[in-house]
């Protein structure tokens, strides 16, 4: 018990198992209930929602666990990759995109794409001109000569 409380990784993992158990329980209860279909929109079953939560909690555990390892540049990739999977689960199932008109998903993805353009171009730019900046107490990158780069 102490170990679990001391170590939050295990806390997350145990939450995940708890929710898995809750899924089973709810599934058993719901087995006899007929899920009505609304006039419009789509109703998600509670079992599915619990399954998704379990997966999300598990992925959280995974990303926290990996963060304790030192994989160099790969750390960011794994962290962002797991975050994207978690985000996709939330978007597709909790936010209903799986059963919605595709245009809603297109809007969301488009906003992410344009954000990517913004971040990408800004990053490309700053990475290229940053080494040519004049040394300054606030900048960590010292410049050997004053104004080395042309243009």
């Amino acid at each position: 018990m102490e170990t679990i409380l001391n170590n939050v990784d295990l806390l997350i993992l145990s939450s995940a198992f708890l929710s898995l158990i809750a899924t089973g329980v709810v599934f058993n209860i719901m087995r006899k209930e007929v899920t009505p279909h609304p006039e419009f929109g789509h109703m998600t079953g509670p079992t599915l929602l619990l399954v998704i939560l379990t997966m999300l909690l598990f992925l959280t555990w995974l990303t926290v666990a990996v963060s304790y390892l030192d994989l160099g540049g790969l750390n960011v990739v794994v962290a962002m990759g797991v975050a994207t999977i978690k985000g996709s689960l939330v978007a597709l199932y909790f936010m209903h995109l799986r059963w919605d008109r595709p245009y809603n998903a297109i809007i969301f993805v488009a906003s992410l794409l344009f954000l990517g353009v913004f971040l990408g171009f800004a990053l490309l730019d700053t990475a290229e001109y940053n080494p040519s900046l004049i040394d300054d107490p606030f900048l960590k990158i010292p410049v050997e000569q004053y104004g080395t780069e042309q243009g």
Partner: protein, 573 residues
Amino acid sequence: MSQPPMDAHSDPQALAPPVAAPVEATGPSYLTVTKTISSWAFTLDHKRIGVMYLIGVLFMFLIGGVIAMLIRTELFSPLALITPLFADTVEAQADMYNKWFTTHGAIMVFLVIIPGVPAALGNFVLPLLLGAKDVAFPKLNLGSFYLWLTGAVFFLYVLFTGGLDTGWTFYTPYSAESGTAVIPALMGVFVLGFSSIFTGLNFIVTIHKMRPPGMTWFKMPLFLWATYATAVMQVLATPVIGITVLLLILERTLGIGIFDPRNGGDPVLFQHFFWFYSHPAVYIMIVPPMGIVSELIAVHSHKRIFGYTYIAFSSVAIAIFSFLVWGHHMFTSGQSTTMNIIFSGITFTVGLPSAIKIFNWIATMYKGAITLNTAMLYGISFIFLFTIGGLTGLFLAVLSIDTHLHDTYFVVAHFHYVMMGSGLVAFIGGLHHWWPKMTGKMFSEYWGRIACGLVFVGFNITFIPQFVMGSLGMPRRYYTYADKFEGYHQLSTMGSYIMAVGFFLIAYYLIQSLVSGKKAPANPWGGNSLEWHTTSPPPLLNFHEVPDATDPYDFENLEYDPVTGNYETIKSA
């Protein structure tokens, strides 16, 4: 009543095809149905909201225009002419000048041109074009208007307390340290940004969800395509200026160290943030006016628009490409060479869709039955002025040329040609085109044409010398200049006065039409989009009988009745 046309297809023995009864007002219009102030202040009717926006936008245009006249008068001579009336020292006079061009720019960009066509005209016309009763979210629409009003109040506050002298572009580090009313101005921009976002959101949903049966995407009037493309830009780009002004406010107050080098920040990053919105913003300013021009040219040439699909797709292409070229405002800022080249290259391609539209409009006019109404004259002026504005933009896209022309009067002339000579001109053209529909009154065509001529001639005299000056090296945002530029400045100032007379004349005859203008028929110009199939002005719920979706560019079945001045719809057998 004129005889129906005889052609090889109609049976001479058949009954004459029925002529649709002229649409007459059989009840109160949206203007007269209720008359209390609160019925306007709390209205959910898109037409009333559009009218309120129109009044607000035109009022702010007046303020921005007066400041422009102050600027032009001041620049008549290298010596200070007007600023000594307000300030004693040379430094204070220069500061005064800085405040003038900043507030002129900020008011015109954020309060007049960005909201202008979409909010003032689009709000009125959009549901009518769709045969709908209102926009998708009427309460949000009213909210957008009050947000605009709040932004206007912020800027009026700025005007009266200390002004703003950072330039409308708010570049750091100066904007982080300027002692003027920067934070209220930034808050105004934030609020106006959300007004714009909610308008765009409303329009996208309306166009998606409230088209009538039979009106597929490719049967919509082109103004709707333009509005849709603009709305996409509004929704995606405007939040970035929102976060930019928030971060600038934090930089000023907390010194967070994002944009100001003294706190460890990067001023070029500010420019990236700022122009990521402000470049799509300039397309937000031009694409709806282009939509208006499509309508003006087609209707007043009584000819089907040429290349409908190309014009529709070009609006979408402009919307997408507009997000990829913002760095062309930053060629000399310290941006890396690689990005300079990338942005320059893409900027060349973004001119293509606009050029496609110009060719299509000219092709529409060819062999059309052109009536040179005031609205049409503005449409034709657009084509001429936008060609100049667009081509000079291409000069600025060339890296080597821009190195010399950046921050000179060449740039000033370029953007006035596209924003004012094209954007504002089309706005006024649209205002004249839909004036009868909005107000139920006809204005004087005679004075309309004269005013259009004054504006057109005055505009060119104002800004062509500025192209020349700029290429000779006259910098922008300077309160004084070398003597060699004096002639150009004087010419430019004189042109601005001619333009001002033109604008006041427009105001005069439009207001006069409200008082004593002729009653407008339902379809004074012979358009076939759905707004012309209801009374002028429309009833509260837009249509007495909701018409079926028409082909908006089919003018075959319209017949002019000289008695009523109305174009009657003739239903062919």
